[in-house]
Amino acid sequence: MAAVQKAIFSSGILLITAILFALRVDNTVDWNWFLIFIPLWLFDAVMITYLIVNIIIHFRTAFCGNVDRNDMTKNRKYGLLVFCVLKITFQILLCLRLEDFYISLYYVLIPLWIILVAGLIDNFFVLKASGAYR
């Protein structure tokens, strides 16, 4: 997948999710929250398939310096897979909470906090490697 396709797909998914979310919150439709999140499930499915295919390609091809054509190491791909699992967990917990199952919001947000902290650490190392302001 080229970067332009990924970007168009991501922004399209974001737009459709926002529209469905607005319809559900305003009670224009009374669908189950799991249905409202369908674009996000689709996004997760594409992301997981993309990562698994990339990991398999990494196993079957001898890349120079263990880095593939997208500058990604095998460990980074495993990390992204864990990120996907955490994102799906967060979405399921959020849907359950919105469907009136009582789950403390702290438990719902734990996967999101792990994702955010990991993203911050990753971003911090990129900033540290590339100078004071990038």
Partner: protein
């Protein structure tokens, strides 16, 4: 993620540092929201939203600093400033409207999400230039 940091920077036209600030503010905000909703914190909604507003203020300030530093190439600097400020303004409007809805509840969700719809469309057009 599907996209790498370099591609996200190219797509959103935000620097890595601006993305870092956004992530940090969302982290602090989510902790405050959880505490507020679960009844462990009695602060008002505008106080809960303070980290997000501070983040937008810092991002606007950084955009101005970058504009001043790129001043010799005025055209390029102006385009960059305009792009950044439009996105920051839309995000800030969305946060203000959401805060208003949560505090007073007199707005519909479609109205609150209008800036986000504009932002999604802008991102959709910008994604055509990612390579």
């Amino acid at each position: 993620m599907l996209l790498k940091l370099r591609e996200i920077v190219q797509w959103t036209r935000m620097s890595a540092f601006e993305l870092f600030l956004h992530l940090l503010s969302i982290l602090v905000f989510s902790v405050l929201v959880a505490a507020k909703v679960e009844g462990d914190l009695s602060a008002s909604w505008p106080t809960i939203f303070a980290p997000l507003f501070i983040c937008d203020g810092l991002n606007a300030y950084l955009s101005l600093i970058v504009f001043v530093r790129q001043y010799r190439d005025l055209k390029k600097a102006s385009i960059r400033l305009a792009c950044s400020l439009v996105v920051i303004a839309l995000i800030f409007t969305f946060k203000i409207l959401l805060c208003q809805k949560l505090a007073k509840g007199n707005l519909k969700c479609a109205e609150v999400l209008t800036p986000l719809f504009f932002l999604c469309n802008i991102l959709l057009f910008r994604s055509c230039r990612v390579h």
